[in-house]
Amino acid sequence: MADTKVISEVTGSIWKVLVAVGDSVEADTPVILVESMKMEIPVLAPDAGVVAEVLVAVGDPVSEGQAVITLKT
């Protein structure tokens, strides 16, 4: 099992957290919604895995390239 950081591709603020620690996710599942450019832009899990850590909370600012979730893959 490796730790995979799930990265936001855009700068914005956290709109919704769609998963909790312990959830299993498939690759390409939306795990977070970032509000950016007046859109709800999903952050997708790059691989299948189990959510180990949620690194942000609703309302937090987030930058492009920032890790928002840690996945055990």
């Binding site: 591709e9 855009v10 700068t11 950016s36 450019m37 007046k38 859109m39 709800e40 832009i41 999903p42 492009e64």
Partner: protein, 511 residues
């Protein structure tokens, strides 16, 4: 001496040449699970169509002749689905398929014939770089690299390259000059090997990081498709070529329209949310418009906020450039700009009409983009667009903001602009523009904010664009397929036999 003696010699020499680098090296490759250079040709070409050119070529050095069957680069002609092609297949079992005086002549001949007689040129790549001693010293300079047109590309015919192993030197260079590159996972493409690079920079270098499939499909964009095996790479090449003409002076081939092509657009309303703040995967829209099973996406992992694909519409090849809100909200970054420009250049060179599917909030602004020369990428794209001579139709599905409105074919940059009723033609997200233009924030003065929001969104609908005849039609999204088929038919360049002017044919193959 009798003719029999001569014929026996012919047979013996043939056997020796076809034996490549010898049974041991071939067995080692087989054990590693890789096809050899001749097996790849067999899988690529229609049965019994292969004619070799240079089977008896060897190194020009007398002492190396015996060790260099076909001189490490196997070349010839054949057919794929009945259409002629030229092929160069690198044989790693013969001196690492290194570039030599003689095999350089073979490649040049393939290039010249493909260009002159109008057939695709396929490189099955795997090579170690320049051969020593051919390239050694001043004498090496005087005998290798003697063709000033070696790296010239005028796109007379399509070039396709497969990266099927370690690729340094010629396999890398020809990939970078090709219109389409497919890479097998585990293959590597780099200027120099990780061993050489590691020595040069005096620190360890990971080969995958230096030139693996992730780097080239996600970061450099030099690879168009990634596959798991040699067989899949060859299948991908065949499929790609099925969309293309054999050369620049003919229209792409037409195919029979598969069953179930009609009525596919019904799904579009379920795919695309009317609310512009919600995102979706535009590739599902492309699927709903195209002939069933005909979507061939290129560079799916690179510049993902813009999706490029070859599709068939009513049996005819069409290129689609679509903003993808699923990634970065569809905001166009530098990678997406480069991807769009190279696709425009390719399509125009091979007479492929272009459809834009538009839903973008503008170019992605930020420090990273500016550092990577975003303004020049945006204008490169516009310059290319202005030089495109194939038919262009733009469909504004939802938002189209700012300068990118023009890049995506708005204004007079397409032959026809079609809007969905959900089209939104602001200059930026209206909520943001109230703040930018008037300095008013919602939380500080909600009444004034609402008033100004009404003001900036007043004139941004499809109806206003239609009233000014800046869009030629507003359609039900479910009718997009049928509308595109008729519009592309209207704009078919009949007087030029559906062949464009190719003003972009000498533009670069990468950016």
């Amino acid at each position: 001496m009798t003719i029999e003696t001569k014929l026996n010699e012919l047979a013996a020499r043939k056997e020796k040449a076809l034996g490549m680098g010898g049974p041991e090296k071939l067995a080692r490759r087989r054990a590693e699970g890789h096809m050899n250079a001749r097996e790849r040709i067999d899988v690529l070409l229609d049965k019994d169509t292969y004619v070799e050119s240079g089977l008896f070529a060897t190194s020009h050095l007398p002492e190396a002749r015996d060790k260099t069957p076909a001189d490490g680069k196997i070349a010839g002609f054949g057919k794929i689905n009945g259409r002629p092609v030229a092929v160069v297949s690198n044989d790693m079992t013969v001196m690492g398929a290194s570039s030599s005086v003689v095999n350089g002549k073979k490649i040049r001949h393939m290039r010249e014939v493909a260009n002159k007689s109008g057939m695709p040129l396929i490189f099955l790549g795997e090579s170690t770089g320049a051969r020593m001693p051919d390239r050694m010293g001043a004498q090496g300079r005087a005998i290798l690299g003697q063709d000033p047109t070696e790296y010239q590309r005028l796109r007379q015919s399509p070039w396709v390259s497969a990266l099927l192993g370690s690729c340094y030197g010629s396999s890398t260079w020809y990939s970078c000059m090709s219109d389409f590159v497919v890479m097998r996972k585990g293959a590597l493409m780099a200027v120099a090997s990780s061993r050489v690079t590691s020595m040069a920079i005096n620190q360890p270098v990971d080969a995958e990081e230096l030139g693996g499939w992730k780097l080239h499909s996600e970061t450099t964009g030099l690879v168009d498709a990634v596959v798991d095996s040699d067989e899949q790479a060859i299948e991908t090449i065949k499929r790609y070529l099925s969309y293309l003409p054999s050369h620049h002076k003919e229209a792409p081939p037409t195919h029979e329209v598969p069953a179930g092509a009609d009525g596919r657009g019904q799904r579009i309303l379920d795919i695309v949310p009317a609310d512009g703040s919600k995102v979706y995967d535009v590739r599902k829209v492309v699927e709903a418009i195209a002939d069933p099973g005909s979507v061939f996406e290129t560079k799916p992992r690179f510049g993902k906020s813009l999706s490029t694909s070859l599709i068939r519409l009513n049996g005819r090849t069409v290129a689609v450039i679509a903003n993808n809100p699923l990634f970065k909200g569809g905001a166009i970054d530098v990678d997406a700009c480069n991807k769009a420009t190279s696709f425009l250049v390719f399509c125009d060179s091979f007479n492929i009409p272009i459809v834009f599917l538009v839903d973008q909030p503008g170019f992605l602004i930020g420090l990273e983009g500016e550092r990577r020369a975003a303004p020049s990428k945006i204008i490169n794209w516009m310059n290319a667009l202005s030089l495109v001579t194939v038919p262009k139709v733009s469909v504004i599905m939802r938002k189209s903001y700012g300068q990118a409105y023009l890049n995506m074919g708005g204004g007079r940059n397409s032959d026809e602009v079609i809007c969905w009723p959900t089209a939104d033609l602001g200059f930026m997200a209206p909520e943001v523009s109230v703040n930018v233009l008037f300095g008013v924030k919602k939380e500080e003065d909600p009444v004034r904010y609402e008033e100004l929001l009404q003001q900036v969104t007043r004139d941004t609908s499809a109806w206003n664009l239609a009233a000014l005849y800046e869009t030629q039609n507003v359609i039900d999204p479910r009718e997009t397929r049928e509308c595109l088929i008729s519009m592309l038919d209207v704009h078919r360049t009949r007087m030029g036999s559906e062949v464009g002017r190719h003003l972009l044919s000498n533009w670069p193959t990468s950016y």
